[in-house]
C-alpha cells in the first residue's frame, strides 16, 4: 500500500527551487548577454592586430584549434577578423540605435503631451515612414548621404525611430488619461510632480527596452548595407563586408568563411534580443518578483 509516493516532498522542493530562481535566472541571462557583447566590443583592444596580417603559408585552412574560425584566402585568422568586424558593427549599431531612440522618444513625448497639431504632424510622419518599405528607404538615405560609416548611422537612425515614437506616444496618452493620474490632480499634485512620479517611471522602462531591441535591427541593417556595398568601406573588416567577401568562396567549399562570422552575428543579435526581453521582465513589477 504505497498511496503516497515517498519522492513527493523531494519533488516539490526541487520544483520550488526552480520557481524561486526565476528572478535570478533573469539576472543571469542579462549578466551573461552583457558580458558577451562587452567582450566582443573590447576584444579589438585585447587581441590587437594579430591575425589580421596575411600569412600566405596558412591559406584556406578549415577550422582547427589554432584557428577556430579557419583562415581566409590570404591566410588571415577568421576569428580575429570576425571579432574586429563584430566589434565595429556593434559600435556603429549602438550609435545609430541611440540616436534613433533619442529621436523616437522626444517626438513620442512631444506628440503625447502637446497633442493638437503637433501630435497630428508627428503621427503623419510616422505613418509615412511606416508606409514606405524599410530597406528601400534605408538604402536611399545611405546613398543620399554618401555611404560610408556616416551614411549607415544616419540611415539607420532616421528609419528606426518610428516604432519607438509610437510606443512612447501611446504610453503617454494612456497614462495621462488613466484614473490614477486624473486622481493625482484632484489630490492636489502639480503637473510637474505627476510627470516626475507617474509618467517618467512608466516611460523609462519602455524606452530602455525599446532601445535595446533596436540594437539588433541597427546591427543587421548595418551589415546588410555593407553587404550590398553602400555601407562601410571595403577596407574596414565590418561583418557585412566579411560576409560579402565570403560569398565568392562559398561555392568552392570554404564554408567557414561565411558560416562562422554569420553565426557570430546571429549570436550577437540574439544576445541583444534576450537582454531586452529579460530586462522587460525585470522592470515590470508584475513579472519581476517571481
Amino acid at each position: 500500500m504505497t498511496l503516497i509516493p515517498p519522492q513527493a516532498p523531494l519533488r516539490r522542493s526541487r520544483l520550488q527551487r526552480l520557481t524561486l530562481s526565476r528572478r535570478q535566472q533573469t539576472l543571469w541571462v542579462i549578466g551573461l548577454c552583457s558580458l558577451f557583447l562587452l567582450g566582443i566590443i573590447l576584444s579589438t583592444w585585447i587581441i590587437g592586430d594579430t591575425g589580421l596580417n596575411p600569412i600566405l603559408a596558412q591559406r584556406n585552412q578549415s577550422p582547427s584549434l589554432d584557428h577556430p574560425f579557419g583562415t581566409d584566402w590570404l591566410g588571415r585568422d577568421m576569428l580575429s577578423r570576425s571579432l574586429h568586424g563584430m566589434s565595429l558593427s556593434l559600435r556603429v549599431g549602438l550609435l545609430a540605435a541611440t540616436i534613433s531612440a533619442f529621436i523616437g522618444s522626444s517626438l513620442g513625448l512631444a506628440a503625447g503631451t502637446l497633442g493638437g497639431w503637433v501630435d497630428a504632424v508627428i503621427t503623419w510622419i510616422v505613418d509615412v515612414f511606416f508606409s514606405l518599405p524599410h530597406l528601400v528607404l534605408l538604402i536611399l538615405i545611405a546613398f543620399a548621404v554618401g555611404g560610408g560609416t556616416t551614411g549607415v548611422v544616419v540611415a539607420v537612425a532616421l528609419t528606426h525611430w518610428t516604432s519607438l515614437a509610437r510606443v512612447i506616444r501611446a504610453e503617454v496618452l494612456q497614462v495621462n488619461s488613466s484614473d490614477y493620474v486624473q486622481l493625482s490632480h484632484r489630490l492636489g499634485r502639480s503637473p510637474l510632480w505627476i510627470a516626475r512620479h507617474h509618467m517618467i517611471p512608466h516611460i523609462i522602462p519602455q524606452l530602455l527596452v525599446g532601445l535595446i531591441l533596436l540594437f539588433p535591427h541597427a546591427i543587421l541593417h548595418e551589415a546588410a548595407l555593407s553587404f550590398i556595398g553602400i555601407g562601410l568601406s571595403p577596407h574596414i573588416p565590418a561583418i557585412g563586408i566579411i560576409l560579402a567577401e565570403s560569398m565568392r568562396h562559398l561555392s568552392t567549399g570554404y564554408w567557414w568563411l561565411g558560416v562562422m562570422p554569420g553565426v557570430l552575428l546571429l549570436l550577437a543579435v540574439k544576445a541583444f534580443d534576450w537582454l531586452g526581453e529579460n530586462l522587460r521582465d525585470l522592470l515590470d513589477p508584475k513579472t519581476s518578483q517571481g
Binding site: S178, D179, Y180, R186, L187, G188, H198, P285, K286
Partner: protein
C-alpha cells in the same frame, strides 16, 4: 454645502447630451443615493461633481466657491475599478500617502494590515485594493465622498465591511456621502434620500443615439 446647479454635459459637440439640466445639493453629513441603470450618466455625473469633467453649462460649487483646481479637492471620488485608480508601479504605502496621509485608525477599521504596505498592487486582491483606494481619500480634508459603484465588484462580506466603516467615518467627520449604484436594494439600505436618474432624465438615451454618426 456641495451644490450642483443646472448641469449640462456631453462628450463631444456632435454627441447627444449625457447630462441634462441636473441640479442637486448635498449638505455635510448627508447620505444621498443616486440610482440608475448603466448608460444613464451616473459616472459622468460623479466626475462632474468631483471636478474631473467640466460641465458645458451650469456649475458645481462648494460653499459657494468653485472647486479648487490646483490644491487638494475636498470632493473626492472613489472609482469602481481600483486596479485602474492605482499606479501599478507603486507600493501600497506610497499609494496611501499620495494625498493627505490617512489616519491609522481608519486603516485598522478597513482591515488594512501593515504587511500590505510594502507590497505591490498586483499582490493584493480586488477587495483589498479597493479598501486601499478608499483609505487614500478618507482623511479629514475630504468633506464630500462620491462612491461610484464602489463595491459593485466585491463579495457581500467585503461590501458590508466597507459600507459599515465608510458610513461610520462619514458620520464622525460630518462628511457628505454620495452613493452611486445600479443596485436599488443596496441604496435603500444605505441612504435615507435617493435620487433616481431614470425618472428625472427627460429623454432616455438608447444605444443608437450614443454612437457617433459618420
Amino acid at each position: 454645502m456641495l451644490n450642483a446647479e443646472n448641469l449640462w454635459f456631453r462628450y463631444g459637440t456632435h454627441l447627444p447630451w449625457t447630462i441634462q439640466e441636473k441640479s442637486m445639493a448635498v449638505a455635510p453629513g448627508d447620505v444621498i443615493g443616486i440610482m440608475a441603470p448603466s448608460g444613464f450618466g451616473k459616472t459622468t455625473l460623479a466626475k462632474l461633481l468631483a471636478g474631473y469633467l467640466n460641465p458645458a453649462k451650469g456649475n458645481v460649487t462648494l460653499d459657494d466657491k468653485p472647486l479648487p483646481k490646483r490644491s487638494y479637492n475636498p470632493v473626492q471620488l472613489v472609482f469602481q475599478n481600483p486596479e485602474l485608480a492605482i499606479n501599478p508601479r507603486w507600493r501600497i504605502d506610497r499609494i496611501l500617502r499620495e494625498g493627505h496621509p490617512p489616519l491609522l485608525r481608519h486603516l485598522d477599521a478597513l482591515g488594512i494590515s501593515s504587511s500590505w504596505l510594502t507590497r505591490y498592487p498586483h499582490e493584493l486582491s480586488g477587495g483589498e485594493l479597493q479598501r486601499v483606494a478608499i483609505a487614500r481619500v478618507l482623511n479629514p480634508q475630504t468633506r464630500y465622498l462620491i462612491a461610484d459603484e464602489m463595491t459593485a465588484m466585491l463579495d457581500a462580506n467585503t461590501q458590508a465591511l466597507i459600507w459599515q466603516v465608510v458610513l461610520n467615518i462619514a458620520r464622525q467627520q460630518q462628511m457628505g456621502l454620495i452613493i452611486i449604484s445600479h443596485d436599488a436594494r443596496l441604496l435603500n439600505r444605505l441612504c435615507p434620500k435617493c435620487l433616481d436618474l431614470t425618472h428625472t432624465h427627460p429623454s432616455e438615451p438608447n444605444l443608437d443615439e450614443m454612437l457617433p454618426t459618420y
